[in-house]
């Protein structure tokens, strides 16, 4: 409570009633759910943000693209997503593959930018508070969306096929159209978020314009060394997770003798674990701080997991569970670090750039991974992924040393951040 009053005071600094700094200026008694300063309201906004992400990831492909970010921008991106999904479904109904590709392209323009918008919203509302938890929850919802998609779409397709009486492009199109309802959900969330954001700005006189106003490519030259190291960690980590999961099913069938269903199950355990664990890890990182140490733990655990899979015949459930845990931990600890090293007006650019190069890395490495697999086999592929994680680990170590040497704030414990905030407020 104390800290919220403090923050409200800070935000109301240029209000008309400047009668002494000690008197808290509460502009009327709003119910907790409607008061932008209160935790309950922030949770409502968090809920909307999460469903925004759920809907996106339920239909997502990854395309790098960044556009202007503000309330209206988010609504526009949501519209792109809905329109893209409709075009995609129409391509199925009319049996035109080029139309489907075009639909996915439009979807991607909106979807990826919405992910950036999500991150920026999160920082705008939750910086200095429950930011790690928020990132965890967002990731969690995204993974739930992916899992729901994987399980539901097949079932939905068979139901549509049963009612229409034929399998084929029409059935596919209808299924996709029904699935696109979640995109409508995303649009509703975007509208609600835009409204709440504007309302908060009105009530709190929050300088909304400062957070992610215009993305300028020239901002890239202002990025500090710690930020570039964070980018490197991000890219080299994720290229060792997602392409591996993509190629993993046959690995488990051939090396460990699993059946097809068991191999699919173990492949999805990373997502299944990250759904509940991401919020827990987020909370943990919020309470303890020391983000770099957590990132280090996550990367080392992933390295260990890949080594177990490559060099032993131990039950792969162990290694994949470790991978799921470390993947969740990394997301909760790494993404909020960007907010600590980048000024607020460059945050959109920073997140957009991070998403972009992450996707670029994934695209390139996915192709490379397939080539390595065909010529050199799974062991060499695993060694390649271990090398990528090792590069990420190198970047983490470097980040820790640079942060330590420069006296940076990336590795502060939660208590130290509190003290910093209090000392700044005085």
């Amino acid at each position: 409570m104390e800290e919220e009053e403090e923050e409200a005071r800070g935000l109301l600094a240029d209000g008309p009633d400047d009668a002494g700094r000690d008197a808290p200026a509460v502009p009327g008694a709003l119910p907790a759910l409607c008061d932008p300063r209160r935790l309950a309201h922030r949770l409502l906004v968090l809920l909307l943000m999460c469903f925004l992400g759920f809907a996106i990831f339920a239909m997502i492909i990854r395309l790098p693209f960044r556009l202007r970010l503000n309330g209206w921008g988010t609504i526009i991106f949501s519209c792109f997503v809905c329109i893209g999904q409709v075009i995609f479904a129409l391509g199925g109904i009319f049996n035109a593959f080029w139309l489907m590709e075009f639909g996915r392209f439009v979807f991607g323009i909106g979807g990826e930018s919405l992910a950036v918008a999500q991150n920026t919203y999160a920082v705008s509302w939750f910086k200095g508070k429950e930011l790690n938890l928020v990132f965890g929850l967002q990731l969690s919802m995204a993974r739930i969306g992916s899992t729901v998609n994987m399980n539901l779409m097949g079932w939905l397709y068979s139901k549509v096929e049963a009612s229409l009486g034929s399998a084929g492009h029409t059935t596919l199109g209808v299924t996709l159209m029904i699935g696109g309802i979640t995109c409508i959900l995303s649009l509703i969330c975007a509208l609600a978020l835009a409204y709440l954001d504007q309302r908060a700005e009105r009530i709190l006189h929050k300088e909304q314009g400062k957070t992610g106003e215009v993305i300028k490519l020239t901002d890239v030259k202002d990025f500090s060394l710690p930020l570039w190291l964070i980018f490197i960690i991000c890219v080299f980590y994720y290229v060792a997770v997602f392409p591996f999961i993509g190629l993993g099913k046959v690995f488990f069938i051939e090396k460990f003798g699993f059946s097809s269903q068991a191999a699919s199950a173990i492949n999805s355990v990373v997502y299944v674990i990250s759904a509940p664990m991401s919020p827990i890890f987020g909370l943990m990182v919020d309470k303890t701080g020391k983000n770099i140490i957590w990132v280090l733990c996550a990367v080392v655990t992933t390295l260990a997991s890949h080594m177990l899979l490559a060099f032993t015949l131990w039950n792969p459930w162990i290694a994949m569970s470790l991978l799921g845990l470390s993947y969740s931990l990394l997301a909760c600890a790494l993404w909020p670090m960007v907010a600590f090293v980048v000024p607020e007006h460059q945050l959109g650019t920073a997140y957009g750039f991070m998403q972009s190069i992450q996707n670029l890395g994934l695209a390139i490495i996915s192709i490379l991974a397939g080539m390595i697999l065909d010529t050199r086999g799974y062991l060499f592929l695993e060694v390649f992924f271990i090398a990528c994680v090792s590069l990420s680990l190198l970047a983490v170590v470097l980040l820790y040393l640079v942060n330590r040497a420069r006296g940076g704030n990336l590795n502060y414990s939660a208590r130290q951040r509190e003290e910093m905030k209090l000392s700044h407020a005085e």
């Binding site: 032993t312 010529t375 086999g377 799974y378 090792s390």
Partner: protein, 405 residues
Amino acid sequence: MCSCEEPRWGWGHCAPGPILLLGLLLAAPFGLLGEETRQVTLEVIPDSMGLPQNLLHIRAVGTNSTLHYVWSSLGPPAVLLVATNTPHSDLSVNWSRLLSPEPDGALMVLPKDSIQFSSALVFTRLFEFDSTNTSDVAAEPPGKPYPPYSLAEFSWNNITDSLDPATLSATFRGHPNQDPTRAFANGSLAFRVQAFSRSGRPAQPPRLLHTMDTCQLEVALVGASPRGNRSLFGLEVATLGQGPDCPSMQEQHSIDDEYAPAVFQLDQLLWGSLPSGFVQWRPVAFSQKQGGRESALPCQASPLHPTLAYPLPQSPIVRAFFGSHNNFCAFNLTFGASTGPGYWDQHYLSWSMLLGVGTPPVDALSPLVLGIMAVALGAPGFMLLAGGLFLLLGPKRYSEYQPIN
């Protein structure tokens, strides 16, 4: 089959004890291994009238041992494997007796008391199954069987034409004598034999590591018309047991699939406790000539079961060397599954095996993999150490104290 649970650095396997394997590696110099190369000669032995009869004798001479591989297509394709402990042993052939109905004693390796190990492999039948309604990959049999082709009733080419001294190889190519359905009108079943004078690994999948104590056989079915749309082929192999029991068949699971992508297993047939003869193969066949992951077919091997001699096509070579009292053991190999790549793609099927004496070759991690691992694990550790030292001992740039203003 025992379960493969024990993890070891490099691989886990079902062999009877890793300690035994280690001991054998240490004891290797005292056995038939330990020599660097062998002098290999290939000879097609003509009969008493000077006509070539498809009897190929491969003689691999080391410093104090000799390996004799006698390949023949008299009757079903068969190979005689004899290991002696002298570099001067040789094969003697009595043609008139060999071509008679009672060929016992027609083949001998002299001096007889120098023989350390001898056994034989006979390829008796080619099976074909219709897999259209089978969904289970490991079903026995993998589909409705068509009448098998007996390899004793095939007619073979003259191998003198296919003898290649540069690669130390020869190819037996055959087709059925009676072919009412004209299935083999444009096709053949080929047995390509290759001997080696030193260790190496061919570029052709499945890239089995060979030593100088082994020779390689590649069985290829090319161009024959299958009798169904989704035909799976199989091969029946018969062998002689060393005693009353059959030789043991093992599956070795390993972590290393560098040389055969997505194949993590090596199958072996061992005739007795080492050092003795072995057959080694990867449980994979290929449906394209250049091989590769997209044309890889799974290969199932049935367990070895003792069988009476009379149902099998008889091999005069085996009877000539071993006499007629023998206990045969047979197993079946089946290539492919009802889904995925198959013989139907290009009417091509190939499977390779190694036949040798001593300790079966074992794949090891390549130096590239070891190098990458060393760098991947060493570099971050080194960086942490160096950076930590620098921070501890280097100039202090940051003070814990906050500036007052």
